[in-house]
Subunit: 293 residues, 2 copies
């Protein structure tokens, strides 16, 4: 069977099903980051790769590519309620690549690292047979009482999304700002039942959060925060929004909306539906799936 | 300037020179792993990538490829004197890749993980535009008094190498055993001034260790442990030996050799030279450099 005949989640289940983990590991494969007991806190660990021709075009400015590669992992740490710590980066390029290109790429890593308080503790280069390949490993940490996973949602929880959805390919995918401050504020002031970063699109990531929480979901279609110039379908399925989707207790919705406007006046927050009993209605069109488009 | 006109080390210096690190970071870019203060111990962090057409051929058995990808990073943790803890793996493949291939690849990851006590805490798949890309992030830890870096060698230290060198491409590069137990024994029983794992060949990696230690070196040419069927040049420059090269105090050499034979009777240990004052004679032929061959 070819991978193109399977969903990404089905593949991950197949390959990680037999893995044994020791009790230090609170969350293994299947969330935005791995979570490991670190005594008085949890350690977070994420690896990600960004590939020319898949995640960025050959013409993309290298500095923006570097920014994107590191910020994707910071977005995953944010989605767990954590703070990023240390990153190690490996870059594979053709021997014909210029030093200037690589220096610009690293400028992007450095800007993102300085902006979000990440230490770039390791960097290596290797030879690629063709496309540029960038791998980033990022550690983070989170206070135990502020850890948020995909699993904690309960039926009735309102669902919120930061920012607007769709059209990321027009440019946002290279310049987005991971919602780190927003996620930290949420876990300190509101309490969040479940959270995920929208990397594959609401139509893929909401079913993931609901499935992990053992709930269904319903969408408030009229409320969807659609980016200017996009269709509803693009907002659901384009992916690479790097916004937060989260579920909170039904009792905190109005406080959340009031406080949010004061603290983050430049970023909209929208209630896009709620978690329900049973299985959620599936979206008519599957979202971005790495092997199905 | 193209990368092919520069050495790998010169490139890394160029791109990591301006990076700021906070005081938690004991060792940043430039050693086998990054080293971060973890209170009563040091944390280790390594990221690495393995690419089809560079690190393995299309015909290589996927299980062996998985073994190699994880064991490369375990070898780096061993070279710091540490123990591996948790790994996160990202695999990018063509949509035409079969599930059976990916399952076999993960079997290789799992065998290595179980053998060396690593938790596979995360696994993701992505789409590649062509070659298979595997990225591995591995954490580890080491007791503060047992950390070994490349920097601690002093003139007069004898230099030792485990195993035999050269010819790895004939098969060893896919089935090597990282010298984890050996490195742990060394740091517990002998004390090691400086250590590195031989991934690029003695002719590349010994100058790195000497440069980091601020010493020169000389080679005991007649003693080189050359693998069967290999030339001296291949032993120096083939790379991918994944053996340990280390410097110890001049006073412990004979104790080391006696004890080693009792504890690791199946693995030869060879004194291949010593660190010297000043600059070491360069080898006539550079070793494996990712951009120069």
């Amino acid at each position: 069977m070819k991978l193109s005949e399977l969903s990404e989640d089905a593949i991950v289940e197949q390959i990680t099903g037999q893995i044994l983990l020791d009790p230090r590991v609170k969350i293994g494969p299947g969330d935005d980051c791995a979570v490991i007991d670190g005594g008085d806190h949890y350690q977070l660990l994420k690896a990600d790769c960004v590939i020319e021709g898949v995640h960025f075009s050959t013409e993309a400015p290298p500095q923006a590519v570097g920014w994107k590669a590191l910020c994707r992992t910071i977005s995953d740490v944010a989605a767990m309620g954590g703070e990023p710590l240390d990153a190690v980066i490996t870059v594979a390029v053709l021997p014909e690549c210029t030093l200037a290109w690589l220096v610009d790429l690293y400028r992007g890593f450095r800007y993102a690292a300085e902006r979000y308080g990440v230490n770039l503790v390791g960097g290596e280069t290797s030879r690629s047979p063709g496309p540029v390949f960038i791998s980033v490993a990022l550690t983070g940490q989170v206070e135990k009482e502020r850890l948020v996973t995909r699993r904690g949602g309960v039926p009735g929880d309102p669902l919120y999304v930061t920012g607007k959805l769709g059209g990321s390919i027009k440019g946002k995918h290279l310049s987005f700002e991971p919602r780190l401050a927003e996620a930290r504020w949420l876990t300190a002031n509101i309490g969040v039942h479940a959270m995920i970063d929208l990397s594959d699109g609401l139509a893929s990531d909401l079913p993931r959060l609901a499935k992990a929480s053992g709930t269904g979901f319903e969408i408030a279609w009229a409320s969807l925060p659609i980016a200017d110039g996009c269709t509803e379908e693009e907002a659901l399925s384009d992916g690479e929004d790097y916004e937060l989707l989260f579920a909170v207790d039904d009792t905190v919705g109005s406080k959340l909306e009031t406080e949010w406007k004061k603290v983050f006046p430049g970023l909209c927050l929208t209630c896009v539906g709620r978690l329900t009993e049973g299985e959620g209605k599936m979206f008519s069109k599957p979202g971005y799936d790495h092997f199905q488009r």
